[in-house]
């Protein structure tokens, strides 16, 4: 036996067997209405440190979440990693017991779309590579990155990982969803330091359906370029600046405030939007935001959500107007609309976005924003490359943010890295303060977006 044993596929879950077991257990417990989400995966990953293996990891994981409805129509839930018959029985009994505490005001049901046709996703299943092959690839990538500039001394955060996974949704009315997937990821985060100056760091990430499809060279190139671009830095004076967000940074910002589009948050009273916000002007008239989990750029897309509802493209903002919310079955019922394929699986079902498409509402005039924007053509532009600490610096229910960022100040057509700074503002003002877009939209792991110009944001620096 050698290292290639790691390439073994996950122990397969068989939906029909699982359905049969649950049906039988449910009958024993007197549970007539149930559903289940199951997942299993096999992961392998490697990390390196200056030419040596740092950590090699393998994991086989399995989990199920069972929901059971009682005779009052209340739902309970239990999750477990124990997929043995005893584990399933305990999970179903636990869910049944928990249903006593179900919320009569907001009880989820089966999605009316849990048996609707699913979109066909182009997701090639790749054979996993041996872990020592992954290790060699990552060692070479690290060496290449270290060789790009004498100041790049280490790549302290790095990893090459691959996953084979399977997920299932079943319910007692015969819904049966199943999806298999293989994915791989590479991240390289370099640290560079020059004599007498502070260390700087930056990096890049790539996703693909298999390790052999990863754009390793592109990841090295981007990580090197971004790190080197931050070596020559200077402090920035505190003040208000026109900011140009990179696609990644703007997608992060919109994602952090996705409660604006979240029907669950609206119903809970913690969203900036309200029930009657649909149809209102949320942003400048040239902004369009869609959630499109099915976009080919969304590596690892799922064709159905936690309740079995098909994933589909959904317009959230068109022409600056708020058009739709993201829904689970329960929130959709409360709003009198169909579920949108954005649900988790729970007693209180969470709702969340998949993958954003952000850009101009049209190609000309009022639908496109300011034309021919070029960040290098104006002085005093702050170009925000990446935002940090969104978990700490975003107040989603207040709309405010104050976030550290990596970026550049543009003067005389030249971009110089900013030493350390935060950008602060209010998302509603940002969306209504967009100047326009620059360049072509870029596909990122979180969505697709061009460079986004925003007027008058507060920057705090050290100068």
């Amino acid at each position: 036996m050698g290292a290639n044993i790691i390439t073994a596929r996950p122990s397969a879950l068989h939906a029909s067997d699982l359905a049969g077991q649950l049906q039988s257990l449910a009958k024993e417990l007197g549970v007539s209405r149930w559903d289940l989400g199951a997942a299993c995966s096999t992961d392998t990953s490697v990390q390196v440190d200056r030419g040596e293996a740092k950590q090699l990891k393998g994991a086989q994981r399995s989990s199920i979440t069972v929901r059971a409805w009682n005779s009052d129509g209340l739902v309970g839930i239990t999750s477990t990693s124990d997929l043995s018959p005893a584990g399933l029985a305990r999970a179903l009994a636990g869910a049944s017991e928990a249903s006593t505490y179900g919320n009569p005001d907001d009880s989820p049901g089966f999605s009316p779309l849990a048996t609707a046709p699913l979109a066909q996703l182009e997701q090639p299943i790749s054979e996993p590579r041996g872990i020592l092959e992954l290790l060699d690839t990552l060692k070479q990538a690290e060496a290449d990155l270290l060789g790009r500039h004498p100041a790049i001394s280490t790549v302290p955060y790095n990893g090459l990982a691959q996953r084979s996974s399977q997920r299932i949704y079943l319910n007692s009315e015969g819904a049966c969803r199943e999806q298999q997937l293989s994915t791989a990821s590479l991240y390289l985060y370099a640290r560079a330091e020059e004599d007498g100056r502070k260390p700087r760091s930056s990096g890049a990430v790539r996703l693909a359906y298999g390790a052999e499809q990863l754009d390793v060279a592109g990841c090295i190139e981007e990580a090197a370029e971004r790190t080197i671009q931050h070596l020559d830095y200077a402090p920035i004076a505190t003040g208000r600046y026109t900011c140009v967000f990179s696609p990644e940074a703007f997608l992060d910002l919109v994602g952090a405030f996705s409660g604006l589009f979240n029907a669950r948050a609206v119903l809970d009273g913690v969203s900036l939007s309200q029930r009657d916000s649909l149809g209102s002007q949320l942003a400048v008239p040239f902004l369009s935001i869609h959630d499109n989990g099915l976009h080919p750029g969304n590596i690892g897309a799922t064709s159905f959500d936690g309740e079995g509802t098909p994933v589909a493209r959904l317009p959230l903002v068109e022409g600056g107007i708020l058009r739709h919310f993201l829904h689970s079955e329960a929130t959709a019922r409360a709003f009198g609309v169909p579920p949108t394929g954005h649900a988790g699986l729970g007693a209180k079902v969470s709702v969340g976005p998949h993958w954003f498409e952000i850009g101009p509402a049209g190609s000309t005039g009022e639908l496109a924003g300011a034309a021919n924007l070029d960040r290098f053509s104006q002085d005093g532009i702050v170009w925000i490359d990446s935002l940090s600490a969104l978990h700490a610096g975003v107040k989603a229910s207040q709309g405010s943010f104050s976030l550290p960022f990596d970026g550049w100040l543009i003067q005389g057509g030249e971009a110089r890295s900013i030493e350390a700074a935060t950008v602060a503002g209010d998302i509603r003002a940002v969306l209504k303060g967009l100047v326009g877009f620059e360049g072509q939209a870029k596909v990122t792991p979180d969505g697709i977006c061009p460079l986004v110009w925003v007027d008058e944001l507060s920057i705090t620096g050290d100068a």
Partner: protein, 477 residues
């Protein structure tokens, strides 16, 4: 067929009955040439509850079992986790981990494994913990009481939430150096949150309390005092102006103010950072890295504290580790791999979220020790600055740059607290800020929190007395 883990040999409890199975695995690993083989088995039982307004809106039980198996060859290691606890499952995991290091389980030939030591059973006195915790009726009633108290004491509250989590974990650690130890852990946390809104004014605030090893904790929780405290803060912050950006002297309140030390310095004193070359303090033991007013400690011993342990996740009993004494760096927080790779002796700090993670050097209860001053003296020493009563989360980057959000802040003008301000973020670098902590008050208190890092999210305590930082960059509007 389902993947069906088989554990029938051992029954439900993780205990002495696992010895033979574990010795088989460890002997096989040692015979294959591994320097060390370590097995971490866990059984977990979790419940999460949420109350919103006058309703229980979520009851989420979860349970599970799993094993993490780690093989060392010199200072290199391979790690495999699985939910399959059968002997075949453990041996398959062993084969995979050995394979990562170029080793194979060829035979049961000569090896240096002398068998497991007598079981050190830290869990024996804790068998009743789970059943002594409040049941669902009692727990849900406490949360509804809390949201009702928020309603009673608050103004303009648009959303009120109470949450409770109970995490029970039984662990068994066995290693080819003879380590054989068992423990039972119980962590409970309860939180309250409120969103106050009045026209365009909004303020969202929260409080969280946590303990370890105290089954009675939810019963003992003073929900009314917590609600009054939160509502008072919400009232202050609802109409607060945004803070003006700039560099100010800052006084950080005690308890969760300790997140500044945790993020800015504590992470940089973990041996994982030494291994990566991402700490500026790697070669600074014996050097002055902070103001002489600063003594900082990491320990796992405080009774009932969220980060306390009877043993770490590598079977070692925790210690009280003085990290910085009067400004001078004393030692690092270290685990087994950290000791192998950096030479810093283990401190009982090998921790992980679950069997899915290899243990790493992680903080436990980490705090700045009390000083000689009163909080009023600290505030009185500032002409114009910021008082941070309550902190949000924070993080530290790979170059030591940290940031954290101020949830509740007040201006200090002429030595007095004046207007509430919101939207502040404190940013800086550990190396630069530590020498600027010039005064420590005499009111040390700890606060429970969660720390996410290389080995997952773990229970920790942060803490400090009121401290004064002479100047720090405050991000704002």
């Amino acid at each position: 067929m389902l993947a069906t883990p088989t554990t029938s040999l051992t029954g439900d409890s993780l205990d002495q009955r696992w010895r033979d199975r574990l010795e088989t695995v460890l002997a096989a690993g040692a015979a294959a040439g591994a320097s060390l083989v370590e097995v971490f088995i866990e059984s977990t039982d979790h419940i999460g509850l949420l109350a919103e307004q006058e309703r229980i809106t979520n009851v989420s039980p979860a349970f599970g079992r799993g094993v993490g198996l780690r093989v060392f060859l010199g200072d290199k290691d391979g790690f495999v986790s699985t939910n399959d606890l059968s002997e075949a499952g453990l041996l398959q995991a062993l084969d995979q981990a050995l394979g990562m290091l170029g080793l194979t389980r060829a035979n049961f030939g000569a090896h240096g494994f002398a068998g497991l030591a007598a079981l050190r059973d830290h869990g024996a006195s804790k068998e009743n913990w789970l059943r002594n915790c409040p049941g669902l009726d009692e727990s849900t009633a406490r949360l509804l009481e809390a949201t009702a108290l928020l309603n009673r004491h608050g103004d303009h509250l648009q959303a009120r939430r109470g949450s409770y989590a109970r995490d029970w974990q039984e662990v068994l650690v066995a290693a080819s150096d003879g380590t054989f130890a068992r423990d039972i852990r119980l962590h409970q946390s309860v939180g309250i949150n409120a969103l106050a809104a009045d026209g365009d004014h909004r303020a969202s605030l929260g409080r969280r309390y946590g303990s370890s090893g105290r089954p009675d904790d939810l019963r003992q929780w003073d929900a009314e005092a917590s609600a009054i405290d939160l509502c008072s803060s919400a009232r202050s912050m609802l109409y607060a102006d945004y803070v003006e950006a700039g560099n100010y002297p800052v006084v950080l309140a005690n308890r969760f103010g300790g997140v500044i030390f945790h993020e800015a310095c504590g992470h940089l004193l973990e041996t994982t950072q030494v291994e990566r070359g991402t700490t500026p303090f790697a070669d600074k033991v014996g050097d002055t890295i902070a103001h002489e007013a600063v003594t900082a400690v990491d320990e796992g011993l405080s009774d009932g504290a969220f980060g306390s342990l009877s043993m770490d996740d590598e079977g070692m009993e925790p210690q009280r580790t003085v990290l910085i004494e009067n400004g001078v760096l004393q030692r690092f927080i270290s685990d087994r791999a950290g000791e192998l790779r950096t030479g810093h002796a283990r401190t009982g700090s090998g921790r992980r979220q679950s069997h899915n993670f290899a243990a790493a050097s992680r903080m436990r209860n980490t705090f700045i020790a009390a000083g000689p001053h009163t909080p009023e003296q600290l505030i009185g020493s500032v002409d114009r600055g910021l008082y941070c009563k309550s902190m949000g989360g924070g993080s530290v980057g790979p170059t030591g740059q940290f940031n954290f959000a101020v949830e509740e802040g007040y201006l200090i003008e002429d030595g007095q607290l004046t207007k509430p301000v919101k939207g502040a973020t404190l940013i800086g670098e550990a190396k630069e800020v530590m020498p600027r902590i010039s005064m420590c008050a005499n009111d040390l208190e700890l606060a429970a929190g969660f720390c996410g890092s290389v080995s997952g999210s773990i229970f920790v305590t942060v803490g400090q007395p009121h401290i004064k930082v002479d100047t720090i960059t405050v991000g704002g509007r």
